[in-house]
Symmetry: C2
Subunit: 149 residues, 2 copies
C-alpha cells in the first residue's frame, strides 16, 4: 500500500528536476489510502522559499479537506523533511510521514533540530524513513551533478 | 527605527484577534527601513496550518521582490517564531529578526529546536528578542482568556 504513493512522489520529483527545481516530490493520502493531493518543489518558479513539496501539499490538503488539521492523513515525501517542513507536518497533525532518503545536511527529522523529539513539538507523527531511498537519492545526485556540470 | 514596524506588527496582531486568529503580526522591511509587506495569522480563515504571520509575510515579500531570497531584509514579529517559521526565516535568508515575547511552549529560536544554532541551519539571522514584549504577550493572554471565558 505504501509503494504506490511513494512511486508517485518519485515521479513528481522527476517533474521538479525537469522544471529545474530541486527534485523532491510529495503526496498526501487519507488513512484509507486515497490520494488527496500531490506537489513538488516550486521554490524558483514561485519565488517562495517556503515552496517545498511538503508545504505545498499540506496547504492544498487543508484547502481540499476544509480544515487546517489533516487528522489521520499520511504524507509521502522523497527526502527527509527539513526543519521548516517538520514543523509544518506537526502543526498539520499528519498521522504518518514516509520519506525516501536521509538529508544529513538539511534534515530536521533525523538530523539537527530532530524536531519531533523536542518538548516544543506537540504532535509527533509516526515516521518511516528509507522508502525507495536509492531512487530518491539518485534523483538529487543527478540534479546537482547536472548543475555543476 | 525599530519602533515603527513593531508597533505596526502589534496592530496587525490586534486585527488577527478580531478575526479570531491567534494574535501574531509580522512586518518585513528592507535594510533601509521601507516596509515591503505585512501579515497576521490566518490559519483558521485559510484552513492552512502553515499560515503563520511570518510565513505569509515571507511568501508575499518573495513575490514582491521577485526572489526567493530576501537578502538584507528584516522581519518584525510579535511572538518568538515557531520551529517551522525559524526554518522559513533561514531559508529566506532574512538578515535580522526582531521579535516581541518569548514562546516557551512553541518557540523554535530560544526554545526547543533552537534552530539557528543547529548545524543544519545554513543561514543564521541576527536575532533581537523582547521588543514590546509586554504588549505582545498581553494580546495573547487576552485572546486565550476570552477563548476560555
Amino acid at each position: 500500500m505504501v509503494d504506490s504513493p511513494m512511486l508517485r512522489a518519485l515521479e513528481l520529483a522527476k517533474q521538479a528536476a525537469l522544471a529545474r527545481e530541486v527534485p523532491v516530490g510529495a503526496v498526501i493520502v487519507s488513512s484509507d489510502g486515497a490520494v488527496i493531493c500531490e506537489a513538488h518543489n516550486r521554490i524558483v518558479e514561485l519565488k517562495d522559499p517556503t515552496a517545498h513539496a511538503e508545504i505545498l501539499a499540506i496547504r492544498e490538503a487543508g484547502e481540499i479537506l476544509g480544515s487546517e488539521r489533516l487528522m489521520g492523513c499520511h504524507l509521502y515525501v522523497t527526502l527527509e523533511p527539513c526543519t521548516m517542513c517538520a514543523g509544518a507536518i506537526s502543526l498539520a497533525r499528519l498521522a504518518r510521514v514516509y520519506f525516501g532518503c536521509l538529508d544529513p545536511k538539511g534534515g530536521g527529522v533525523e538530523h539537527g533540530a530532530c524536531f519531533f523529539d523536542q518538548p516544543t513539538c506537540h504532535h509527533k507523527p509516526d515516521v518511516y524513513g528509507g522508502l525507495y531511498e536509492e531512487e530518491s537519492a539518485q534523483l538529487l545526485k543527478d540534479f546537482f551533478a547536472d548543475k555543476r556540470g
